[in-house]
Structures are given as C-alpha cells and as structure tokens.
Amino acid sequence: MPKIVTDVGCPYCGASCDDLEILVSDDGKKILEVYNACAIGNEVFHHASSPDRLKRPRLRQPDGTYQEISYDEAVDYTAKVLLKAKKPLIYGFGSTNCEAMSAVGRVAEKSGAVLDNCASICHGPSFLAIFDNGYPSCTLGEVKNRADVVVFWGCNPMHAHPRHTSRYSIFPRGFFTEKGQRQRKMISIDPRETETAKLADIHLMVQQGHDYELFDAFRTVLRGHDIPDEVAGIRKEAILEAAGIMKNARFGMIFFGMGCTHTDGRNHNVDIAISLTRDLNTVAKYSIMAMRGHYNIAGPGQVWSWQFGFPYCIDLTKGTHAHMNPGETSSIDLAMRDEVDAFINIGTDAGAHFPIDAVKHLRKHPFITIDPNICMASEISDLHIPVAVVGVEEAGVVYRMDNVPIQFKKVVDPPEGVISDEQLFDRVYLRICELTETEPTWIPAKGHAKAPVTAGQ
C-alpha cells in the first residue's frame, strides 16, 4: 500500500509551504503523487525520483569528459583545492538546509575562504538598506490574520511565489480578517501588467527605473505636502488615492521584490521603502517584507549572522576575523576582478546566474559544483558532487521569507550511497584537519553521532 506523508515542507520558493502531502510507493522509495503543492513544487518532488539522478561524484578528465569517482576522492579533491587556494569562494546556499550552512562555516574558517550566498545577486541591496535603516517586519501569519491593505512593489508572487497570496497575503481568512480577500485592499506597483497586477484593486504602472521617485511622492503626500501632477509616470490623483488607502489601513503590509533591488536606485529604493513604512507607522500599523526567492535563502543570513555577525559577503581569509564589505567581498565583484582562485558552487547555479565575464574568470581556476542535479554550473565544473535533495531526502531547518524557522521533513531516502550537504562539509572539514595535521574543533552541542567531542583535549 502506498502511504501518505503529511506536513511536508516544499523546497522551492521563499513561501516555504509546509502543508504538502506526498504519496510514497509501498517500498518507501518512489514519490508517486504530490498534493497541495504549486506546479513548480510538484516538479521538485517528482524530479527527485527521476531515473537520471547522479549517484556518484564526477571528475573532469583531461579529454573533457566526466568520470565517476568515490565520495572519498571527491572530499580529498575539495579539501586540497581549498587548502591550496589563497582566496577560495564558497557561494550559493539558497537550496540547502541550515545544518549545511553551519557545517560550511567551520570549513570556510579553517581554509580561509570567502562565504557568500545568493542574496549577493538578489536581496543584497535589501541588506544594505537594512544596515542603514532597519527592518520593521512581521511573520506571514500577522498578514493573514490582520492585514487589510497589502502592497506588492516590484514583485509578482502569482508567478514567483505561487501560493503566497492564497496561504498568507490576499485570500486567506484569518482571525481578524474573516472575509478574506473581500476585506483586503491590494495595490500592485509594477511597470508591467503582471498576473499580480491584474489581481490588484489598484495597479500603478510605475515608469521603469523611477521607483524611488514614486516612494518619495508617497512620503511627501503622507506628510501633507503637495506633489507635481505626475510622478514616475503616475498621475497625482492615482497617487493620492493609493496613499489614502494606505493611510486608512488598520494593518498595512508592503512586500517588495527584485523590481526594487535590481532597478535604478537598488538599495536606495529599499531604504526609502523602509522609511515609508516608518512614516506609515505614525498613522497606522505597518510592516515591510522582502520577497525572498528560495525556500531557505533567508537561512544563510541567519546562520552566518549568529556565527560571524554578517549575513553575506563574509571574507574569512584573514584567519582571525570575519570581514564584510559588499563591493569588495561580494562574489560577483571578486570574480570580475579575478581575485578568486577556487570556486565552490553549492545549492544554486552560478553558471546560469552570474555574468558571463565573472564565470569566465572563475573557470580559470578549480571549479566545484555541489548539487543534486545537472545544471549549467555542473556542466562547466572540474568536479560535480551530487548530494541528497533537502526537503525530499534530507530533513533540516529552513528559514521562510519572514525568517520563521520551519523544520522540513525527509520523505524518501536518497539514492543509495548519496550523502547530504552537511555530511559532505563535515567530511571535507575532517580531511582538511588530517592534511594540516590539526585537531578538529567541534562545538559539542552540535551533537552529531559522527562528531567527535574534543573533551579533555
């Protein structure tokens, strides 16, 4: 009899839904059906059962082909690459668990690497704004239970976070929002007529690249001053109408996405969005939230903040300190200046996401991909190490876009012999210790069965 696994977390987008139900085959090995997930989440689970899954690491040969090697050999190769390099970069982590992010911290410190995550090319500008202006936010349940005005600025959840509006922000009936969508005013601010814009009560089609001006116009109006007849391509009357709705909220919410962080103004757009939220808190209750992309891209920001004090762009090459200076220690900038002499791509696809010039520089040096699947990065790597799919074959903590930790389950076993990201990093760490003839230092509370405790050293 196939069995149903309930309350399963979805390893796709930043909405990190944890209500999936998965029908698993009698022998517990194959995923048959996926319930409650969106189309993309559905595919993540089915893909894990694909017969094409890689089961062993592959090393690039002199003739350009890949040849299977053992995990021990892959661990040894990775440890030696990290030790040899002066400034190795370990980048990615949008799609793995926090246990792996914690384990890699030890590896990066020991080998003197730069640690960075996908925020570097995504919500990095949001971090810069948060450093300057703070982050008045809330959990998604607050939106569900209280919000009567919801603004989506430069984001399109109907495509990027398919269940966001139904689980959290627009449709659900919450404690103080029993009428669901009918009780909420929805404003979309986007230069395109997206599916989200079509759903909204008001769509302000901001002129592309002029978001800052529109934010500024809202702040000006809310403070009782006049604005020109048209700002950022929007008529004054439309701005006044939207500002009036925002002001009269009991609980208002501003969600923003790449449309703010990756258009003209970047961090300044987010900065003024936060200032607008602060202004609105003098007349109503308001929160703001970044629409984080991947199911655990908020994770490295959390784990590395408690380990190193910084969420991203962490340079550990000094050995005694962690150092963060986006622009100097950010992945793209390091790669474009050809400062990186070894690269590990983990839980993302730098091959697809980085500018081609950055990839060309990185490709001159050892290039390792750690990912369950074949992707663009894996196809240009020297070494590809397949790992278990987190959320499907490996449990762990992930941070939803609102920084709520969700404890994801394991649904099926990984293909025989395939290890997790965390196990891989712990083995690389131990190998580095062997090669450098040093004692491994574990934080004993980590409490791995496999982790020796340094008691009485």
Partner: protein, 568 residues
C-alpha cells in the same frame, strides 16, 4: 575518571555559609566530591578567590531578535572584535556577540549557566539552533506567554487549569524552561500599533487586563509547580514615572505562595528593574525611584529581582516589548527593526548609545546600582545588564566593581558632563555601602540558582553539585585598593572548570567543554479542550502546521530534562 583538586583557595560559597575560609574543592568527573585520590590534578589557588560557576538569570543571547541585532549592525563588529584564539572559532561582535564569542566570554568570566530571557515560541527552533552553536555554557530559554492568544482567551475566562495545560504543552513543545511575561497585553496591542501602559488598560479585542494576565500566569505557574517563578518584564518600561506601575504589579504577588519541589521561594521574578524604577513625568524632571521600589521589594520575601544595570556603552536594545522599541526609535531616530509574531508576541531592536554626557543616561546608570546597594537581601537581588539592553554581559565585572567600590562609583560620576544634575536626581552620591565578595557571590551564584530552582546543581561548591568552579585573581584578605583590579579579576578567570573540565586557564579558552540545554517537561493530565483549541488555531490562524511546530529532539542534542509531575 578525571580528578581535580583546587587547593588552598579562599572559598566563598554563600549556599554553605562559607565566607573566605581557606579550603580545597575536590572534583571527580563532573561533580564536586568530598575528597579525591592523590593522583588528582592539583590547581594551586593559594591567595586566590574560589567560587562556584555563576548563573545569569536574564540575558538575550540566542534567537531571532538577537540575530536581527547581529545582522543589521555590521558596525558592531568593525574594529570591535578581538582576534580569534588559534584553533578556536572567530569572535565577532561587541554588544551582540556571535554565538561563539558569547560562550567563550561567559566562560572567561566563570559563568556556567545562562538563561535566554525571551523565546518567541514560533521561533524556538531558531533559539535552539543558536544555543547548540554556543559553546561551553549550559543554557535554557524562557518562552514568552503574556501576549499569547491562547493564554489571553483562557485568562479572560479565568480558566487556570486550561491555561496550565496549554503552558505545559508549549514549554514542552519549545523545549523551554518557564513562563516569561513581556509587557503583558501591550505587545498584543502593538499588533494594531497600540500599547497597554497601565495595569487596567484592556487588551484590544481580547478584553483582558495586564493585571489579570500577570495574576493568571502567576497562578498557572504555581499550579504547575515549575522550577522557576513567572519572570516578568512589566508594563510601561522606560517611561518617566513608571515606578507606580512597577509597584502595582509587584503588589499582585502579595499573599501568593510558591508551590514547587525545587526549593524556590519566590512567586515573581521582576527583571531589569532599573528600567522600571523611574520617577518624574518627563525627561526634564526624570529621577530615581530606586529607593521606593527597593523598600517594597525588601519587605516582600516572595519576590526576586535583577538589576539591569546601565554600563554606559554603545549597545543594541532588543525586547519583545515591540511598542517600547518603536517609542525609543522616535527618541533616538536610529534604525529600527521590528518582528511581530503571529498569535504570540513581537520584538523590536534599536541601537542605543548610553552616553555618560547625557543626563538621563547618567541617572539610569545610578538607578541600576542603587537597586543593588539598597537591597537588604542579596539572595533575592541578581546582577544583570539585561544584556544587551542596558549594556553587554561582559560588563558584569564592571558592575561588580561599581557595587563593591564607592571610589569607583565616584570616579565614574566625576566623568559625567551633568554630574550635579545626576546627583540631584539620584541618591548614588550619598551611598557608602560597598558590597562584599560574599554578597556578590549571593547575587551571581547562590541567589539565581535558588530562584531558578537549580540550587541542587549550580551556585555552590558543596559535594554533589555540578563541578563548576572558578578561580579569580583576588586576595580575599587583601582586596586591591585600585577598584580596576576587581574588574580585571572577574573579567578573566584564572581557572574555570565547567562540568569537571578545565575550559579556561589564565583567561584563555582551553576547551569547548560539555554544553547542555536544560528544559522542563511538565506533565499534566490530558485536557481535551486545550488539545482541540491547539488543533483549531493551527488549522485556522497559524501559517505553520502543528506537526512542524515542536522543536525536534536533534536540535537540543545534549538535553538535561527536568521532569515536573503535576498532581491534579
């Protein structure tokens, strides 16, 4: 079998009424014993002070708001982080140190146990993830309850039994330790941008008052017989004139009796009292009411307090008192982070500079110390800085210096730009009391251990206790005339033995030790209504499924579970 003999030190152990006797402390494995064999490793403590490992009853060291403080303040790291010790993890951060630095610095000061003071239940997996990345020290965490929808609904109807069943379930689910109250009712009101500043301000919609919440949770706590009492951050924190609200809430404990098997005698722990002992009605006539508050506390044996001393540093304020942080931000206009947590609580984070040249900061500094100097019972008065709110925890040695030395207090007062105004608004200038090492040991060892219901494990050097032993570079018979030496001695222990293992030598970390997470397993008989309520709220209101809510065992890998059987 590992044996250690700490020989010939001046032992200070208030739990055994030992004050400076020259004696040996014998350790076998992780316990203190009567004697050890001749093969034991000997630590020569001649001419040095020997105390049990200390306990911090209230600090914000792990969890979401602490991590917001780290994340959004890169400037807290820049030029303010020491070099890593070779072969140990990097130590980043000043007011909000990394988990590694937190564990190392507490150990360097001889601390064995630290209570994380506010755990938002929904974020409890995060709290435990950070705890398991914090080396050496034992830790526990207090989940927050005073704005939790279940609790508000049960207490509105006066249903203590249901409240107790829910509280027991939540403490178990979050692997928590006890009942924390933060701005009762006010934080829920903050969901609408409002607050409850007085004890009879009804909570919007829930229509229950802060006084009812405090009393109800106090009854719940004693119904369950938990090791710790309710631990309360009162309403109207930080407001001029708030001492009347403080006294009103302390009076709610009148006549209540502690019921537990852990030796705890208080029914209410009132935390960071400095922030709640303010007179005046504006910042212009702001003044100390420490004496009035302590006069009451001194009479009421069923109340314990901690100080929340201002250390005059640039720090990061963080609290589940969301409306307070918004209010503070309107005063200093620095960056502001806020996280409202569905059905449960909220949190705010704002950087703050306690500038010795600002009159109000000087008065706050004086109030914290006055509370410690006006106390008549050091077993009920504990040293804290409400880390990092009034100052970072690694300033405890400085607070001890001020408490032990009038000269040190006067020297600090002399540096204030508004010295005379501070003197006018406080009583600090006239106080000549200097606390003794014995009293300091009561305030950091025996006292907090008893208040937490942990006096059988921590806070004493009696045989059978956990082997947490600190040796400080102080001569009991010849205390230094220079108070700076006191601070230096407590900043870096000569030796610290934690759970029988030497973790600090000459102020340097020598091992990652044997860290544990303490949590309370309160067993009540099944309550079908509460079970149904929990299921219903998770289906209707929460955005996380019930099955994924309780902290999984592997996240607290070295647990020390305290079982509490509730007879009903």
């Amino acid at each position: 079998m590992a044996e250690i003999l700490v020989k010939n030190g001046y032992v200070i152990d208030p739990a055994q009424k030992i004050d400076g006797d020259v004696a040996d402390v014998a350790i076998r494995d992780d316990k203190i014993v009567e004697s050890v064999s001749s093969g034991a490793r000997v630590i020569d403590a001649r001419g040095k002070v020997v105390m049990a490992g200390a306990l911090d009853v209230h600090a914000h060291v792990a969890g979401p708001k602490v991590n917001v403080g780290r994340l959004f303040r890169p400037e807290d790291k820049l030029f303010k982080s020491p070099e890593a010790q070779p072969n140990y993890r990097v130590e980043m951060g000043f007011s909000v140190p990394s988990t590694f630095k937190t564990g190392y610095d507490y150990a360097r000061m001889g601390y064995a146990f630290v209570m994380e003071a506010a755990m938002p239940p929904l974020h409890s997996p995060h709290v435990h993830e950070e705890i398991h990345d914090t080396p050496i020290i034992d830790q526990a965490a207090l989940p927050v309850f005073a704005n939790n929808w279940f609790v508000l609904e049960y207490l509105k109807k006066g249903e203590i039994e249901n409240s107790a069943a829910y509280v027991a379930w939540l403490i178990r689910a979050t692997k928590g330790y006890g009942i924390k109250l933060v701005n009762p009712g006010g934080t829920e009101a903050w969901g609408w941008g409002l607050n409850c500043l007085k004890l009879d301000d009804p909570v919007p919609f829930f229509d229950v008052t802060p006084a009812e919440i405090i009393t109800g949770l106090m009854k719940t706590n004693e119904y369950l017989g938990l090791p710790h009492s309710i631990h309360i951050h009162q309403n109207s924190l930080g407001d001029p004139g708030n001492y009347t609200v403080t006294l009103d809430s302390l009076k709610l404990a009148k006549g209540m009796k502690a019921k537990n098997k852990f030796g705890r005698t208080q029914v209410m722990h009132s935390t960071h009292l400095q922030f709640h002992s303010y007179g005046g009605d504006s910042w212009a006539n702001f003044e100390s009411k420490a004496k009035d508050v302590m006069n009451y506390v001194n009479q009421q044996k069923n109340i314990t307090i901690d100080l929340g001393c201002v250390t005059l540093d640039e720090t990061t304020t963080m609290t589940a008192d969301g409306p307070f942080e918004h209010h503070l931000n309107a005063l200093n206009h620095l960056k502001w982070a806020n996280t409202d947590v569905e059905l449960e609580t909220a949190a705010g984070v704002v950087p703050y500079i306690y500038d010795k040249d600002i009159k109000v900061c000087g008065i706050q500094w004086a109030i914290g110390l006055e509370l410690g100097l006006f106390t008549k019972d050091c077993m009920r008065t504990f040293i804290t800085t409400d880390h990092p709110n009034a100052g970072p925890f690694f300033r405890y040695p400085r607070v001890i210096k001020w408490l032990m030395s009038q000269k040190a207090r006067e020297a600090t007062l002399e540096t204030f730009k508004h010295r005379d105004k501070v003197i006018d608004a406080t009583e600090i200038h006239g106080i000549d009391r200097e606390l003794t090492l014995y009293e300091i040991a009561q305030m950091t060892r025996a006292g907090p251990a008893k208040a937490l219901g942990l006096a059988g494990m921590y806070g004493s050097l009696a045989p059978g206790m956990d082997a947490n032993v600190a040796v400080f570079n102080l001569d009991y018979k010849k205390m230094p005339s220079n108070p700076e030496k006191i601070e230096q001695a407590f900043q870096r222990a000569l030796w610290f033995i934690k759970s029988g293992e030497i973790v600090v030598k000459d102020g340097e970390i020598t091992s990652h030790g044997n860290k544990r997470t303490l949590w309370v397993n309160a067993k009540v008989k099944e309550n079908p209504q509460v079970v149904r309520d929990i299921h219903e709220k998770f289906i209707k209101d929460y955005t996380v499924n019930l099955d994924n809510y309780p902290v999984r065992d592997y996240l607290a890998p070295n647990p020390f579970v305290i079982d509490v059987d509730v007879e009903a």
